[in-house]
Symmetry: C2
Subunit: 189 residues, 2 copies
């Protein structure tokens, strides 16, 4: 998606530790019109998949997923990171490893909102180590639903999450794949 690459080049900031900051439009401030175009791009990529449900994880997947849901015309569900009064006790669970916090945490979806027969598309903002996608896949598997693919806005191609998950058969499409960010110079596939 050329408009995305342009936006990353113009607004992205490369920080120490391999962090690509795109919080001007993707995960803090949100550019709704642009993220709606991102949703259209996902819809075009996965239009032959008969998607019945979009699944993402809180927090930063929500804006992308709900705008994509508008174009797919299917319900969106976001997995929750905390058990709260607002979450049903009966849930499907996945486990995610946090590299920054060096610990595993659970993500959960109420059994009401995912079922056998669902054709699930996972959407997320970033793909690096693939931990979020793995946790979300566990939830799809637990529900005996079918995972039809995963769409990510930005893949960090120099980390190996995408490679491993594709080898395991996951159909992952990235709208932009960053191959290097050395000295702040962002290069794409």
């Amino acid at each position: 998606m050329d408009a995305l690459k342009r936006k990353i080049r113009e607004e992205g900031r490369v920080l120490l530790g391999g962090i690509l900051k795109v919080d001007s439009f993707l995960n803090h401030q949100l550019d709704a019109a642009f993220l709606s175009a991102v949703g259209v791009a996902f819809q075009e990529l996965f239009q032959d998949k008969k998607v019945t449900k979009i699944l993402t994880a809180e927090v930063s997947g929500i804006a992308i997923a709900v705008l994509a849901g508008l174009h797919f015309g299917v319900p969106v569900v976001f997995a929750k990171k905390t058990q709260s009064l607002n979450l049903d006790p009966d849930t499907y669970e996945g486990e995610v490893y946090s590299y920054t916090k060096k610990q595993h945490y659970k993500i959960r979806v109420s059994k009401r909102y995912l079922e056998e027969g669902d054709q699930v598309l996972i959407l997320d903002d970033f793909l690096a180590n693939g931990e979020a996608l793995k946790g979300l896949r566990q939830i799809v598997d637990a529900a005996k639903a079918t995972l039809v693919g995963a769409g990510v806005v930005i893949e960090k191609g120099f980390q190996d999450g995408g490679k491993k998950l594709r080898e395991e058969g996951m159909d992952i499409r990235a709208l932009a794949t960053v191959t290097s960010m050395e000295k702040g110079d962002i290069k794409f596939l």
Copy 2:
């Protein structure tokens, strides 16, 4: 908003402890088309306010805010609950009291994304004790921006947050105000 009242009546579940669960469309599963109509309703209510920015808090305000942003044609910013590598160190802060956890926590917005001169509309899913709106107002004040109003999808009219904040001069509009939920029978203003 009649469609919202119908949806709450049809899909809402009243749980012990005064909890109104609307997680089939508002804060776990998301009905994107419906929430887009919610965004249009907010746009109609606040169209004379020259809104330049929409502000909400993670997690459950994000979907509503980004869809509203699409109709207002302005950037959306969501305040973050956790300090993370992805958040600038230089932030405006607000404090929110959690009645369930019985403790205060901070919400933060990067100073990059809110500025003096901004005409800010706060949006959120629920208004009960008004804690989230108060924390978000602190952020607007800290940025020396102007708070033009607050829109909430559902106000619990039997809790006093809305009353207090309106007395303090906040222009709050609720798309549906629940006046009682006794024995699971949801009544609206």
